[in-house]
Symmetry: C2
DNA sequence: CTGAAAGCGCTTACAG
DNA sequence: CTGAAAGCGCTTACAG
């Protein structure tokens, strides 16, 4: 046998037609059980695999999803947000379970997206996952909508923005803040952008505000400081607050990456976490557990999230009715709040 | 225009044949410049994209690489080694530069690999990246060899094991250990497996031994403790050494993940890094810089590594002669050795 | 339950 | 420089 075997080779060896081979390989109920068995045995012996391009071309579906990971501003190449990478892991597993292959691409939010996966039939749909200014993000989504591209987006639900899967950021923020209040912290800083440019962070901020108000505490604008989701931004934000002489005994960081940088800044000034300043993060990235001290945080269930993203997209591709999904968060207490 | 446009639609609109459209879209020098321009303009207007399956089926190449990430033993889902994830980032970028798509799959080393990317023409070749017992790994490689699959592997060169790209583990281990010796540490532990089951770790261990011998220090078996590449393993290993009463003033961990866990264990016993025990890791994962204290480590250049993996594989696919590559490492001094 | 035939949308000799 | 034609390897009506 020279070159790869084709379904004709199998047909010849099995003494049936090529059509029957094609059916038998996909376990068609139309084919007699023993024929299926014979065909599949021969296919195995020949190490035959259905040609993906031929079958996709004919059936007009690729059984492939594309994952578009983006991040803005450009962080150091190696500093891709670990949260997204956890998601990547769960997404690949979910795809495998559903029999889809996964095409992965990193792009900048600021770039012209090369998202022609569907137009070129490379993928049946796209999963969007990343971090960046929502104002830059929306036009990209609009473009995908216009092209009729099927996609699902990780993020908060919002009207007119297609299908999304996201966690309950507001509730997570509220839980984190209530936890700090319960531990008798009263001057709680929020480190993270809190505007419509970053809807997820903004929702976490709103949860923070809600918790403070419920506890009868005042909202001090001086206690909020912008930060994108990098260690450096957390580090810089805390230093800026301390330099300004802002006093606080706790800090809720909009992401673990920010929290890790924030703890470094606190400790570099000779202050203690949690004695002087208690810290809560958001995400529960792998590092959180091994930070020093281990970081109390709000877990987003990446396994559930990845499975949900894939499931929603696959169902959309199949033409089923799908709606956006919000998944719950879970507070994980560790030592950075002085409790256990 | 209903459905996706085809090259025939463009041909019709441009008043040329479909063959000419096909050539013009790929900037064939056979086609007159103005024809190319006209065809490409119309294609743009129609948002036309070449159908991947049709072109791949016809030309018998998919312009896609597959990345098979594996890890053994199964760690917690979210704890995929950050080093590999950094590599993933650089590999996707390298693929994009070379005009290849990337199919990603996570699998267990212990599983039957579903690595039929090439047989089914999904990919032109495979990049193997992961961590696990080499004794389990080798049969998988042999199988790929038998099938004539084109692949490149991240790891140390070794005869009869196909194409590989890896870093100079031995030199890296030697550099790390010499750094500790230079800082007057004399009782240096090695945390990590040191056998042919883990060739990369073993090479780092050999560098460690070389440095000790060059400095006239003795090699004490009690100072080596096995650990796979997880924080937990590092944590456990250090506790085991301390429990046994082994005395050491420095520690070279075979990976950053091990080092981070080791530092946690040291600190949890009330000891100081670096005052009591200086620590060096290996990899320079993103966390290293934000560990407490920041971790001195041996950097593997993931950008270079990813580019090299892709380049080697693509050249192999093109039928060019390729040989295995070893890339250099770089010692990154931070505070975990008490220097800066 | 099976087979003969059409056709998915390209690329690429071949002929001019 | 361009066009007509074949064919990549499947899936799927259609006919029996």
């Amino acid at each position: 046998m020279k070159g790869k075997a084709t379904s004709f080779d199998i047909a010849h060896l099995a003494g049936v037609s090529q059509s029957t081979v094609s059916r038998a390989l996909r376990n068609s109920p139309l084919v007699k059980a023993e024929t299926i068995e014979k065909v599949q045995r021969i296919a195995r012996e020949l190490n035959y695999k259905v040609d993906k391009h031929a079958s996709s071309l004919r059936s007009q579906q690729s059984a492939t999803l594309a994952l578009l990971l983006f991040e803005d501003p450009t962080t150091d190449d190696s500093l891709i947000n670990p949260f997204f990478l956890s998601m990547l892991g769960s997404i690949t597993r979910a795809c495998a379970r559903q029999g889809f292959d996964l095409l992965v691409s990193f792009q900048q939010l600021s770039d012209d997206w090369h998202a022609d996966y569907e137009d070129s039939h490379k993928a049946d749909g796209i999963i969007l996952l990343g971090y960046g200014d929502d104002v830059d993000y929306r036009p990209k989504l609009r473009q995908l909508d216009q092209q009729g591209t099927r996609y699902v987006r990780w993020g908060p639900q919002s009207q007119g923005q297609g299908l999304s899967v996201g966690c309950n950021n507001r509730q997570g923020g509220q839980d984190a803040t209530e936890h700090l209040i319960r531990l008798d912290r009263r001057r709680i800083a929020f480190i993270g952008n809190a505007s419509h440019h970053y809807p997820e962070f903004f929702a976490r901020y709103q949860g923070y505000v809600r918790a403070l108000m419920d506890a009868g505490l005042s909202i001090e604008p001086a206690l909020q400081h912008d930060a994108i989701t990098t260690e450096q931004a957390g580090f810089d934000a805390v230093n800026a607050l301390l330099d300004k002489g802002v006093e606080f005994d706790a800090l809720f960081a909009a992401s673990d990456l920010i929290a890790v940088g924030a703890m470094q800044a606190i400790q570099s000034r000779g202050l203690s976490v949690p004695d002087d300043i208690a810290v809560v993060g958001f995400d529960d990235i792998p590092v959180a557990r091994f930070a020093s001290p281990p970081l109390t945080t709000v877990r987003q269930d990446t396994n559930l999230a990845g499975a949900q993203l894939v499931d929603s997209l696959v169902r959309q591709i199949r033409g089923e009715a799908v709606t956006s999904v919000t998944i719950p968060t879970l507070l994980i207490p560790r030592q950075s709040c002085g409790e256990r």
